[in-house]
């Protein structure tokens, strides 16, 4: 595989890394993470960078150690045959070394592909088909087994590097090696020049799923990773030596985000022992900043509340009271734009006598800013957390969009070629308006001035789909198209929509709802109905979800609610009235764990398609959202 660019000595860039008074600020977003790491190692060699629980004990590493480790890993990998442009898959959980490997791989100019640790062998083969990687770094034996089972379908897979083999010994005929084996002779000592990447070069590929459940690979450039990280850091107002906790499979984008943000702000990233111990470990770790999926917050809350309900009446009473208080306070502030004096006082008192000890017990004692990804934290949960003195702001972090340069599938090419700007890359546009391209060298994420990208991987002569998303000039700076975005609407519309939301959500049938423009000035309500409630009104109470949403009665009832809400909105004197032209829901019910909305599911249902013209939703969804990236919005 021929390298795309020759390595340059990085001596020239060092001063750039030194110019800095406030930590992190000086480093421009485009700088590869390994350089950030090295900067940290130079300036704060002593301070702790990572912490992990191995075999029941907490181990920690300083920046300098990590830097040294990363360099030696790169040397090790170089010996194993990892070159620039090589692709190396990584899968595993709760072990910082996995991230260090990612860094080392970037340092070598190769592309780390973060794979879910829960992946099964067929999916693994699927990922392999997209990015024929020759190397696979397995966090634990589970992943080793996956790779071994899939080896027949992965001809190019040369080496599985196992970080933690536990009790195992079998090496499957040289396929599986441990680090120790690899270090072996002088692997650790061979020092390899780092690869200097452009900020538009791909930094990392994340194996995830699109809303159809298809496994896709998402590629992020150094620029977008940095940008996302910095945005997160600023949202969380992260400081140096803050403590973060990461506890999920490495391929979760939120996890990767925390990791990169921690690097930029040189915060301390700890990882729990495993998912079973997560809650307990969290209590010990007491993070300052936390980014977790909604499901995890739910788990925490249920744990807390079960406790509260089993504890003394007084505690329970205070808790309920503080909940209502929080609700009233927010209502008050919504009305007058500021919290009431009484509320402030009582809140303060509560915090001293009730919340503080509670936070201490449940492990949020030090928490400064918490975020939940994978959609929106249901308002009731948010309120209950608030009553514990914990504010959780949902951030929009769909891995499809957070830091994406492009995603890949490989249909057959269509007619109607378009002019090619980069030599060696041929582009055509198919009837669906998608751009397809072919390059005569294996390529990764090259960007064309027409705002087109080639697939993650094209074999010489192979075709792949790409999607238009924005303009990039030859200097490699991105320029995004505009997004239609609630936050950017004039306040009255937003307020009116919020009013809609509260009305709908207050209904028994609807758990929560969001709104998309239908393109004709009105709005589509995408709702998440309460299945049990639906059953209650359905003629056949035994019917399954997909049956329910076909039933006239049910649709009528929901339509009634919408209509009511529209009327209310018209009556509402304050501000302009927004009307809901149609509503959509999901082919699959969302379990309580998910309980959130994605803005696509609704379209999978024929009934809805009749209600909402697909094309319109398109503007509302895929491409434009895609364009405006990587942007973290605090709802």
């Amino acid at each position: 595989m021929k390298p795309i660019r020759q390595p340059v000595s990085i001596a020239a860039e060092l001063p750039a890394l030194h110019r800095r008074d406030i930590p992190g600020v000086g480093i421009s977003a485009g700088v590869p993470l390994w350089q950030v790491l090295r900067a940290n190692a130079m300036e704060w060699s002593g301070s702790t960078a990572y912490r992990a629980k191995l075999r029941g004990l907490w181990k920690s590493w300083t920046w300098a150690e990590v830097e040294r480790e990363v360099v030696s890993i790169q040397g090790m990998l170089a010996q194993a045959g990892v070159r620039s442009g090589t692709m190396v898959a990584i899968a595993g959980e709760t072990d910082p070394r996995l991230y260090w490997y990612a860094l080392a791989i970037q340092r070598a100019g190769a592309l780390p592909i973060l794979v879910s640790s829960r992946i099964d062998s067929s999916e693994f083969a699927g990922v392999y088909a997209k990015a024929e990687f020759a190397f696979f770094v397995a966090g634990s034996e589970a992943q080793v087994d996956v790779a071994v089972n899939a080896r027949s379908r992965c001809p190019e897979l040369r080496l599985v590097i196992a970080l933690d083999r536990g009790l195992e010994v079998d090496d499957y005929g040289g396929l599986v090696v441990t680090e120790q084996d690899l270090r072996g002779v002088d692997g650790a000592r061979t020092r390899v020049e780092p690869w200097i990447a452009l900020q538009t070069d791909p930094a990392v590929a994340i194996s995830t799923y699109d809303e159809a459940g298809e496994n896709i690979l998402v590629v992020c450039s150094h620029a977008s990773v940095g940008k996302a990280a910095k945005e997160f850091a600023s949202l969380a107002s992260m400081k140096a030596n803050d403590e973060l906790v990461s506890f999920l499979p490495i391929s979760w984008f939120g996890d990767f985000l925390q990791f990169s943000a921690a690097l930029f702000e040189r915060a301390l990233l700890s990882s729990v022992e495993n998912s079973a111990t997560a809650v307990g470990d969290l209590q010990v770790l007491a993070p300052d900043v936390m980014l977790a999926p909604v499901s995890f917050y739910r788990k925490m809350l249920s744990r807390i509340e079960v406790n509260i309900h089993h504890s003394s009446r007084i505690i329970l009473w205070i808790y309920i009271w503080s909940n209502s208080l929080a609700a009233r306070a927010s209502a008050h502030s919504a009305k007058f734009g500021r919290a009431g004096f009484v509320h402030v006082i009582t809140a303060q008192l509560l915090d001293i006598i009730f919340r503080a000890p509670l936070r201490n017990v449940i492990g949020f004692s030090k928490l400064r800013s918490a975020f939940c990804a994978e959609g929106i934290l249901p308002p009731d949960l948010a309120a209950r957390f608030k009553s514990l003195g914990i504010d959780i702001s949902p951030i929009d972090l769909d891995p499809r969009y957070g830091g994406v340069l492009g995603s890949v599938a490989c249909p057959t090419p269509q007619s109607d070629p378009v002019d090619v700007v980069i030599e060696g890359v041929e582009l055509i546009r198919n009837s669906a308006g998608q751009a397809l391209c072919r390059s005569d060298f294996p390529a990764i994420g090259i960007v064309e001035s027409g705002g087109m990208i080639v697939p993650l991987k094209t074999n010489a002569g192979g075709w792949g789909r790409a999607s238009i998303f924005g303009k990039i000039d030859k200097t490699g700076t991105l320029e995004f198209l505009e997004d239609i975005d609630l936050e950017e609407l004039e306040d009255q519309t937003a307020a009116s929509l919020r009013a809609h939301a509260t009305r709908l959500n207050s209904e028994l049938l609807i758990r929560n709802s969001i709104f998309r423009p239908d393109g004709k000035g009105d709005w589509v309500a995408v709702i998440n109905p309460d299945v049990d409630a639906l059953r209650a009104i359905s003629p056949n109470s035994g019917s399954r979800y997909h049956e329910l949403i076909e039933q006239e009665e049910v649709i009528a009832a929901l339509a009634g609610i919408i209509r009511k809400s529209n009327l209310a909105s018209q009556k509402d004197a304050a501000g302009i009235s927004t009307q809901i032209s149609s509503f959509a829901w999901f082919a699959k019910p969302l379990s309580a764990e998910e309980g959130t909305l994605t803005r696509h599911g609704g379209l999978q249902h024929k009934q809805i398609q009749s209600l909402v013209p697909t094309s319109v939703m398109e503007t509302g969804s895929v491409n434009v959202r895609m364009a405006q990236m990587p942007r973290l919005r605090v709802a």
């Binding site: 075999r55 029941g56 034996e141 087994d145 933690d164 536990g166 009790l167 195992e168 010994v169 079998d170 022992e273 495993n274 079973a276 111990t277 307990g280």
Partner: protein, 262 residues
């Protein structure tokens, strides 16, 4: 179905063993050879004498006639503890854990034989004794990690769910780094998922640590999938032995066992 059949040397030789309780013949003239590194299953209807055979192998019962030999043992395993010393570990149909003790303590007891420090050193609890504790604790943590027991590390095992307890008992057997592990219905009362998990553990221990297994299991599906060879007992007599395919083909087995069970 597992077709690779290890052709290791014989590890356990049960030679024409009979066992009598008062008037009842629990076993009559049973001869079995367990090869090194294989998973050997003993099946049969209830009261066929499976557990009795296991008990003979690791010395709970002394056969009325016939002999049991553990090849490579320093001395023929006559008592339970000497069997343990010669690398024989065992789990029970109805758990035999130390209910009052935590998971880690149970596993540590599995390594009891490896702990050498004497009473005085221990009473001082410095130097050797301390080092020993730490070293064995580390070894135990490996098993905790392997069997995914982190969450219950310090819980008293008495209150833990059944599946977990089974796993802990298996871990305790593993902790003694045995050559042979006898499993008496390791998956009794488990749901399918737990069974799959357990077989996974057994398989990987057998594959990768070359531990020989002798197991009694009622779930025919599991047995067929897991074991290299199977012996079928009925009324204390061995009516068949061979690979899963052979056994399941054997008419007498079908009549005596499968017919009854399913």
């Amino acid at each position: 179905m597992r077709n690779i059949s290890p052709t290791g040397a014989d590890t356990i030789i049960v030679d024409d063993v009979s066992l009598r309780f008062g008037g009842v013949m629990a076993l009559t003239g049973v001869s079995v050879k367990v090869r090194e590194g294989e998973i050997f299953a003993i099946i049969g209807p209830n009261g066929a004498g499976k557990t009795s055979l296991l008990n003979c192998i690791n010395g709970f019962y002394r056969p009325t006639s016939g002999s049991v030999a553990l090849v490579g043992a320093d001395k023929p395993s006559i008592s339970v503890s000497s069997a343990a010393r010669s690398g024989l570990a065992r789990t029970f149909q109805n758990l035999a854990l130390f209910r009052g003790l935590s998971t880690v303590e149970n596993l540590l007891l599995g390594r009891n034989l490896k702990m050498k420090t004497n009473l005085l050193q221990v009473a001082m609890f410095v130097g050797a004794a301390r080092r020993e504790e730490i070293e064995h604790r580390a070894a135990v943590e490996e098993i905790v990690h392997f069997l995914q027991l982190q969450a219950v590390r310090d819980e008293p095992v008495g209150q833990l769910p059944y599946g977990i307890q089974k796993r802990i008992e298996f871990g305790r057997a593993l902790a003694s780094e045995p050559r042979v592990i006898l499993l008496d219905e390791p998956m009794a009362g488990m749901n399918q998922h737990e069974k799959a998990e357990m077989s996974g553990f057994i398989r990987s221990v057998n594959d990768k640590m070359k531990v020989t297994f002798v197991l009694i299991e009622h779930d025919i599906g599991v047995v067929m999938g897991l074991s290299d060879r199977i012996a079928v007992l009925d009324h204390g007599e061995k009516i068949a032995e061979g690979t899963p395919s052979e056994v399941s083909a054997n008419p007498s087995v079908i009549s005596a066992y499968l017919g009854v069970e399913h």
